[in-house]
Amino acid sequence: MSTVTNTTEGTVPKKKSSRKLFKYNPNRVAHTLDQLGLGYFSPIARLIGGDEPRKQFREITSNTFLPMLAFAIFIGIWGICAQFVVSDSTRIPSPAQTWTAWQGMVDFAEAEKLKEAEYYESNEERAIKMETKAKTAEEAGQLDKVERYNGMAEKFRTKVYQGATTFFDQIGISLITVAVGFLAATLLGVPIGILCGISKKVNVALNPIIQLFKPVSPLAWFPIVFVFTTWGIEQPESTSIWQRALWTSAGVVTLCSIWPTLINTAVGVASVDKDHLNVAKVLKLGWFKRIWKIILPSSLPLIFTGLRLSIGVGWMVLVASDMMAQNQGLGKFVWDMYQNGDTQSTAQIIIAVFFIGAIGFLLDRVMLVCQRLVTFEEQTI
């Protein structure tokens, strides 16, 4: 009933607002937020637009307080576990201990950064000293000394700091590793998937291999990939991030995460709307154009579903493969802390678990947004 009166009252000011250059459309903003995977904020956007404030308030409070309540219960159970779960050398750290450990990790990282900056600063000072020496030597005409001093200055400038890797460096390495592995899985999985989807023969030929290798654990792949990388990749200097271990770990990620992309691409290509293929037939599109203009855009939603699953699998197996390969990522961090074996280290592992979960969630959200951007509305006449 109230909506009827609202619309009749609202007719006059509506004309005014349409003259404005920018008109806030709460529904549209809320829809965009939903599309971006930020559905939590869409009631807030509606509230700003004054759209049924009471309903929005209720939604915001329940969206906020219910998860907070669940999290509080989780912390409580964790705290109880910390009281009772004790082994010989270590125990489950309490939430408070974990928080302290986290602060320690941040302090350590900051200190390390400071050390690094100091190191470069002092080296720069030394280099400048050498250059001034070189200049005085040049004025004195001692050419051999000039060369030596300049060489030393150069040496000080190119020296690379070799401190301890911090937790945050290791997150960076992990992200690079998963990016390399995922990229390789995409570059292999999508074209092979297209071939499988187009040609029944290719599909029949490859299907047993796919089904056979799909369920294999990353731990089983590791030794095989390791042989390949030791054979094919030369170990770079220890300062480079492109260590053999990184390639090995990325290779394991590729082998485990390629399957969802491959299978979804094949299904997407095989299930292209027959009407759309008829359009291609009538227009006599060539092989390449048929794939590029019809098949690929039409199967993009499923390809992205596959990619989203793949990045999830990739991130999940990364910790295991980092552990095995001794790649300087999060897996190595967890392994090292486990070797330490005290309560402090267990607390740091818990922090790592939270980070692994949060990053996995973020990666999934990024892929979800990509997936929604390429998904078109199916037309119904």
Binding site: H276, V279, V282, L283, K284, P297, F376, Q379, I381
Partner: protein, 267 residues
């Protein structure tokens, strides 16, 4: 004079475990250049099968089809097809949907010429403000306008329409019939249209082909529509002749329906 378009003993047989299923048999039809023919019949009688065979989207099992002196072999853009559902590519704008075909047919033309062609046809079908809209932003009628523009823009030797307005409401249908007839009046393409709407057939066609019921459907009867062109719906509906045609076609369809009933009750 030999015909511009001819189907000779055209037939479609599907092999099934229970023996051959003959859908269409001995479908013979000759058409002059620039003629508009409607094929009418009960649903499931094989009208659409005939059209998709002519379009090259369905394999011909018996007989053949000759267009402009050569036998057809598979689908090609010299036969523009307007499907029942518009079949627009949902990830492309109206403009790109038409341009896809234009690029394919006018591969030797300059970009500017191609743009002019697309713009012309989209404007003629009444979509001048909606070039960049994607199919999900267009109504059903507007989508089928794009479908018409896409088929005409190919400048095909023959236009094939498979119940193009079957899914539209009556008002939209009237509008689009007019759009189609106006376009056809400009280009006078040889056209074959499948329909089960008697009024639509009389309004548009030079001849109406009545198909017998399947299985083994063929040409049952042919009705010449001698109404002057260009046609105007009000004008032709005020002529007595219109109602004679209408009655004739309805009688034919009614007889076929009764036959079907008898067969079913006998079985």
């Amino acid at each position: 004079m030999s015909a511009y378009f001819e189907t000779f003993k055209l037939g479609k047989t599907y092999k099934t475990p229970k023996g051959d299923a003959v859908i269409v048999k001995n479908f013979n039809l000759k058409m002059k250049k620039g003629e508009f023919v409607c094929v009418i019949g009960h649903s499931g009688c094989g009208k659409s099968t005939v059209l998709s065979m002519v379009a090259g989207l369905n394999e011909i099992t018996d007989g053949g089809v000759i267009l402009d002196g050569s036998e057809i072999n598979g689908a090609a853009p010299d036969r523009g097809v307007v499907f029942q559902s518009p079949c627009l590519l949902p990830w492309m704008s109206a403009w790109d949907n038409v341009m896809l075909g234009v690029k394919q047919v006018y591969y030797h033309a300059s970009n500017h010429e191609r743009k002019q062609i697309v713009e012309y046809y989209l404007t003629v079908v009444g979509l001048s403000g909606s070039f960049n809209k994607r199919p999900d932003e267009l109504s059903g009628g507007m989508r089928q306008r794009v479908g018409l523009a896409r088929a005409f823009a190919l400048s095909p030797k023959m236009l094939l329409l498979d119940e193009p307005f079957g899914m539209l409401d009556k008002l939209t249908k009237f509008e689009l019939q007019k759009v189609l007839l106006d376009l056809w009046n400009r280009e006078r393409l040889t056209a074959m249209m499948i329909t089960h709407d008697v009024d639509e057939a009389i309004y548009l066609a030079d001849r109406v082909i009545m198909m017998t019921n399947g299985p083994a459907a063929g040409v049952g009867d042919i009705l010449e529509i001698n109404l002057p062109r260009p046609r105007n719906r009000q004008e032709i509906m005020s002529q007595e002749q219109y109602y004679d045609y209408r009655q004739f076609l309805l009688n034919f369809l009614q007889e076929r329906a009764d036959e079907g009933k008898e067969e079913r009750s006998a079985a």
